[in-house]
Amino acid sequence: MRYLPLDAADRAQMLARVGAPDIDALFADIPAAKRLNRPLDLPGGMSEIEVERRLTRMAARNVAAGSVPFFLGAGAYRHHVPATVDHLIQRSEFLTSYTPYQPEIAQGTLQVLFEFQTQVAALTGMEVANASMYDGSTACAEAILMAHRLTRRRKAVLSGGLHPQYSDVAATLGGMADEEIVRLPLDPHASEDIAAAIDDETSCVVVQSPDFFGNLRDLEPIAAAAHAKGALLVAVFTEAVSLGAVRSPGEMAADIAVGEGQSIGNALNFGGPYVGLFATRLKNVRQAPGRLAGETVDADGRRSFVLTLSTREQHIRREKATSNICTNSGLCALAFSIHLTLLGEAGLRRLAALNHAAAVDLAGRFGAIPGVDVLTEAFFNEFTIRTPRPAAALIDELAARGIVGGLPVSRLAPNAGLDDLIVVAATETSTPDDRRSYAETLAQLLQTGGKR
């Protein structure tokens, strides 16, 4: 086996040193009746070329996003990632190192995390960010728990513009922890009255912008309403690139900002691994979950970085920890950080502008199709259309014609009465031809009544 350096002679010598007659003597603590005395029901080992064949065949059964006109977002976004990013994250020293518990020989990872934290804090307009979470949805659930700790209340109000699966995750954890999670109805028009849902028991309101339907929301009045009741505002975003074009959560007085960082530096990966971003005000940092890298000096007085405030974490605080999280999303955070460094402020702003322009162009084309309504007034690179026929069928028909046209809302919200809505995203990866092709095909499908 190509990954196992020991050979039979090595094993025999090692067993002799150990003083064991055979390998099974080392497994003697396994109850005899429970030892697996037969081969595993798995195929034999494969050479590299065999594994490649098998997995390449599976991969070929999928339609790669880059091979078709592609307009799907809804929490994960297809952007162009410079080749440099993937090369650098595959450096052995980044890829195959562990959590930096021995800082003297992990300054690379630690400095990256310190830079990442600073970038995330700047992007979100917050004072401090952690070293990343699993993804946006779990970061959102952790933000709610943190708000509970800070306010000593146990009720969270979720906006109807929050990604439905983020709401599901928060509701699942909240239900298990005996917390009250109030989910406002899905709100394609961004017309809900969140302030009215906040009372003296509310720990936080959780509001996404751009929201699940693409609406840009003004969080400032919501923050004011929350603060007036002693509650916190948790601002959520799923498209980090939007922060290059729109006001940040910090500017709008959010107390905690969480989001999905996939769209900077990371591939779509069929949903994971991604990277959760988590930022807050400095005064709240001791109640924050996740790891934190901080600056200090070494014995020679040189600037150095180290994991700090770790007494919040599970390996020390055990049942009193701020979170049970152990692993974060280090390598994805590195990819995020490298991509953002390559973009810089100027590049990010231009990238955001290109995204917005593509979406505005596509929305304009849809506006010209009879029977199609663009519902979203203020948006970044994603918006919602209403179609005269059930959206799910239309998306399937588009797929059959080689176009991935967006998300039928009914897929994530089957019983919400929103079966005629599609959430459509256009990023810089879409070409004018892609957008023209989508609009023309949709118009044709609607004209012909969708006969298959």
Binding site: R286, T308, S310, T311, I316, R317, K320
Partner: protein, 125 residues
């Protein structure tokens, strides 16, 4: 007349009239290492003997400080909040954590005297 009593968890209670000044022993601060953060209770909180009263954190460890006696918290030491290192410098003095108004002076009898605590520490070595 003041007298200092100890728990097996290394809290001390220095009795000043009907008030106990509570902190962690010098042995405890040595074991913890450099204290970096202290979480103190709110004044007015009523504690039962054995309740978690405060948390003392070093870089690598966090320890609950349990109330050695029952009673109401009447004062906390703001100085250690700002300067946790006081606990390392002077755990028994300027590094005190909180003052409890004794609810039941009889509880003191269940705590160790200075000499008993010194003997107890020897058993840990």
């Amino acid at each position: 007349m003041t007298e200092t009593r100890y728990t097996k968890d290394h809290e001390y209670a220095r009795v000043e009239g009907d008030v106990a000044v509570v902190g962690i022993s010098d042995h405890a601060q040595q074991q913890l290492g450099d204290v970096v953060f202290v979480e103190l209770p709110a004044v007015g909180v009523k504690l039962a003997k054995g309740d978690g009263a405060a948390v003392v954190e070093s870089v690598k460890a966090a320890s609950d400080v349990f109330a050695p006696v029952s009673g109401e918290v009447i004062e906390v030491n703001g100085a250690v909040d700002a300067q946790p290192g006081l606990i390392n410098e002077d755990a028994m003095g300027r590094g005190w954590l909180l003052k409890i108004k004794l609810a039941d002076a009889g509880e003191l009898a269940s705590l160790m005297s200075e000499a008993d605590y010194a003997a107890f520490l020897k058993t840990l070595a």
